[in-house]
Amino acid sequence: MSTVVPEVASAPPPVRGRAYERLRGRYWLVIVGAIVVVSAVRMITNADDVTSANTIRAAILSACPILLAGMGGLWSERAGVVNIGLEGQMLLGTWGAAYFTYWYGPWVGLLGAAAFGAIGGLLHGIATITFGVDHIVSGVAINIIGLGATQFLAEAYFSDLENGGPRQLTGLDPLPYLTFPHLSDWLITLNGHHWFVISDVAGFLAALTARVSVLTVIIAGIVVLTTWLLWHTSFGLRLRSCGESPAAAESLGVNVYRYKYIAVTVSGALAGLGGAFLALVASSGFVTNQSGGRGYIGLAAMIFGNWQPGGTVGASLMFGYTDALRLRTPSAVHALLLLVAIGLLVYSAVRFWRKHRTSGIVMGVLGVAFLLWYLLTDTVPREFTGMTPYVVTLLVLSLASQRMRMPAADGQVYRKGSAG
């Protein structure tokens, strides 16, 4: 996705060595700081739902499908193919998951979802790689086909089933859950004490130790595997070279078309798995148009995360967290205002520190506005929480897009033999 207009995309080369270590140290600092701030906000506002185990669990549930779509986007864009068809591929995945789970059980259901998503990805690949169609155009078409196909297939295959209907299929066998009984109980008790920092960390860990779906664990594995494959193997280097400079890759003997096809197919399969998460884990069954825009949000999360796995995870969790908070108590939603205000003010200070006056002022003013909003009101309309991730994405993109770096040949059509 061309977030950055080419002429401003000249970023410094990736930092390695000692500077890299320092950067990594700073990430830990940021994480610890964030935990302390969140905990302080919870103490000040008395909104215990901000870090309760239930909220975190709901946040992870909302984040997982977005993360899978984001990982799908990462695969395909790292190979230079913009995949806006993630939404349609995800929808195909929801149907595949429902159909195969109904007849063959949830494990085959997962495979079915991935296979159906992969078909959508392959279609995108045929259009964009072999036929050189514009990537956005093909993606839009795939989204239309995905929506139509799932509705049509649902009506054709689910109407006459028990628990089924022309638009839904419930009563599917669930995937197993993992629970560490004593540990999680202890953590939940700890969470209930509302101690500074300790209870917040306990809430987070409690959500990770009780009723964790196997698919969530698989997703964590996929993230690790993706990072390793794309950044630490020669396969990944070749794949990413297709997204940076396909002509150079081809001149070095890389089969550009093959790598792009692999990337787009995997991309579709991951989006399909995201669909499976929606149908099998996040809700009690399949309904038509279940993805509700999560494919697009996943793409946004990937861009927000600067085409990096770690960033994508962070952005997905942010989307998931605000989504979860929206559905919980109003006081937690109100507390979020203070959190956003503090975040903006800190960011503003950082910008000033780095001598970016303008953006520092913009962020500072916004931060003060949020602070006033928090101080002068008692409740916030739920809808505003739902809006937060989108507004934040826009804000961050508009302030940081110059520092983001997408694959250099992302979204460009490459024809075999162009290297001469």
């Binding site: 996705m1 155009v137 239309i144 139509g148 049509f152 697009y296 809808e383």
Partner: protein, 363 residues
């Protein structure tokens, strides 16, 4: 001869695409093994529409066409305004709220409401335009975000300020004096062709004039064809981006207005969502050409309207036409690319003085 050949080439791709779309649809229906045969399906889809359905097709065509033009204004200069959906949602809500408040009498109310729709749609698109021009944020991602924000924002506003009744909520109904009905070609039970559907004709002609008879249109097409060449020839690309985003959003604001003043009279459950994405598909199908999009809009409206009788007469789901529509869009872009490559080959052959196959193709 040359003209014949050009027409043949222009028609080749759409004809191939529609044929592929029909073939894929047939395969899908046969593969899922419905009780009603494939013959029944095409008989129903290709039958002469009822009077009521005809009226519906005309009305839908006008709205889809407006949406397609909105998308095409951006597409023609390589700008992907995916946000038509959000732009016409906010614009429709703003216009409906203003019209419902009835500050102005009768016809004046309609005019000002239409203007408000245009302005709000343009402003909503303008956010993406400004972010693109000043901060380098891709319009694809910002318009996707703005679509989501628009949906939530309008949902909130209507919940807060709308009129609640039963399970639904809507804006105030506009006074009878401000309703713009239409013309009943058949009996009144068959519905009316909305007068404001003429907006589509106006916008279509306006789009053609803008593209082909103004400097702005020339700059627009030049920028879309080659940005570097445009910059070199002194076109201010940033201004073009902002202007075309505003025009695109302004046109998007009008999309739902024929239905609003002709039939719905208030914004609520009657609002027809999804037209923004349909418009994008139709713009692609019609090659962003003023005339091509007319056929595209007609095809989409026709398929959707005809599919409604499928549910009554067969066990085939009406959503199968969405597969037809999506495949048609994909097939048409692929077909254009193939025809283009074929033409390039023919030209190369012609230049090389090889025996020309082109004569047979053109005939």
């Amino acid at each position: 001869m040359n003209i014949l050949r050009r027409i043949a080439f222009a028609l080749l791709a759409p004809v191939i695409a529609v044929a592929i779309a029909m073939a894929v649809t047939s395969v899908v229906i046969i593969a899922t093994g419905s009780d009603s045969g494939i013959g029944d399906f095409w008989k129903i889809i290709l039958s002469k529409p009822d009077d009521r359905v005809l009226v519906d097709i005309v009305n839908q065509t006008s709205m889809i066409y407006l949406s397609a033009v909105a998308a095409a204004v951006g597409f023609r200069m390589g700008l992907f305004n995916i946000g038509v959906e959000g732009q016409y949602t906010t614009a429709s809500f703003a216009a409906a709220s203003f019209a419902g408040a009835a500050f102005l009498p009768g016809f004046l109310n309609v005019i000002v409401s239409l203007l408000i729709a245009v302005v709000v749609g343009a402003l909503w698109a303008g956010i993406a335009g400004i972010l693109r021009v000043t901060r380098g944020v891709s319009e694809v991602i910002s318009t996707i975000m703005l679509n989501a924000i628009a949906g939530i924002l309008v949902g909130y506003l209507i919940d807060r300020y709308g009129i609640h009744g039963g399970n639904s909520v809507r804006t105030k109904v506009i006074p009878a004096g401000s309703q713009v009905g239409g013309w009943s070609p058949f009996t009144s039970a068959d519905g009316q062709v909305w007068t404001l559907g003429l907006l589509a004709v106006l916008v279509g002609v306006g789009f053609w004039v803008l593209l082909n008879r103004t400097t702005f249109g020339f700059d627009l097409r030049a920028t879309g064809t080659s940005r570097t060449a445009a910059v070199a020839s002194g076109i201010k690309v940033n201004r073009m981006i902002l202007a075309s985003m505003l025009i695109s959003g302004g046109v998007a604001g009008l999309i739902w207005m024929p239905a609003f003043f002709g039939d719905a009279y208030s914004y609520g459950t009657t609002f027809q969502a999804g037209l923004g994405f349909t418009g994008i598909a139709v713009a692609l199908l019609g090659r962003n050409q003023p005339l091509g999009m007319v056929f595209g809009a007609l095809l989409f409206a026709f398929l959707t309207a005809q599919s409604n009788s499928l549910t009554l007469l067969t066990d085939i789901s009406a959503s199968v036409v969405q597969i037809t529509q999506g495949v048609a869009v994909l097939a048409v872009v692929v077909a254009y690319e193939l025809v283009r490559r074929y033409r390039v080959r023919l030209e190369q052959h012609a230049v090389a003085g090889a025996p020309v196959v082109a004569e047979e193709v053109a005939a």
